[in-house]
Amino acid sequence: MAGNGYKNEFGVFGERPKVPKKLYDAKYVIGGLIVFFVIASFTLWPNLGKTIPAPQPKLETPVILKLKEADRKCVLPKAEIRATHMQMLVDWRETVVRSKEKGAVNGREFVAPDGKKYLASLTNTCMDCHSNKAEFCDTCHNYAAVTPNCWGCHLETGKKLAEAK
């Protein structure tokens, strides 16, 4: 949109006065940028200089302690479950809640890579072993400032559905 006769509120484009190129109102521009960066980073200020220790999730719960050493494994290997449990739980949810929908995968039992079968349920399976949410789930979640929205509905302690009458 250059040159000949394009007009806006500042005048005809080609006829604008030539003004030397420099940073006008430098005080306000630089000052404003500094204020912006201070405000934008203010959440980091309280933690300056402090060392926040890495989270230490506790695995010692009554149910886990009852298991033999060899049986103390999660549904997926440790590195994998740590990295992908968020997606895995979403997949569990979609499959279990929407099972028997037309075209959907049917079933509530998750078959782990090692062949073992688990009921696909956060409260009844995961929380059964890891019954210490505050010392397990929350340690990492608080450290990473993550608020998973599962707990608004799902309960933190579970019993197997068939046992609970």
Partner: protein
Amino acid sequence: MGMDRREFIRLAGLSALLGLGGKGAFEIVRPGLALAGFEPAPKALEGKRWAMVVNMQKLDEATAAKCVEACHRVHNVPDFKNPPDAKLQLPPEIVSRHEIKWIWTEHFHNAFVEEQPMEKVQHLPFLLLCNHCNNPPCVRVCPTKATFQREDGIVMMDMHRCIGCRFCMAGCPYSARSFNWRDPRPYVAQVYPGYPTREIGVVEKCTFCAERLAQGLMPACVEASRGALVFGDLADEKSQVSATLKKYFTIRRKTHLGTNPQVYYIV
């Protein structure tokens, strides 16, 4: 002079759109985890068309109350009338407006509005619940398929997907659905650990205890009904529910609407 203001805004806007849209597109297109590792639980009850018969000849007020209590207990349905804490007491019109009920009793002239009131059945406690219609209008109107019809006939609720638009509540001709107008958790006196609660802003209703069927159990109301409620697979000739329907004359609610409800009443 480089770019003018108009071009800059165009470029910035397009970049923002691509940036945001790109993430969205990635979410939709991205390959999910292998979902093949699922199978039904060993004891799961399988059916092609679940249905229920309510035998009013065997149902009295006390049993009906037990059915309601059983259902609401195992699904953590809040009770606004009798809160566990006196501080949570609510005025009566709020209690009735915000009420959540999956199964409840009504008199004949409310349950079957097209019929003339009949002395014989007028005061019976008819148990009403979601009819799990074969042609459900609520499923037709849901904009996100948060309520959907399963292959075994159950009209299911996905509380995770529900956006709380309440179109399904407007669509249901049987007033079977409830909405969470407030946080339900403080009003659940005894939390049942095997089932979640709900949050504000989603619709809920009877699901024919799909989670219990998947574990080989009968729906909670059927178990509490002492034989007054018969539940089973209508597509199975040999099921109790098929036999019951062959033996007795039954009525259903508002059949003229074409919803094909699957809760039958023996009067």
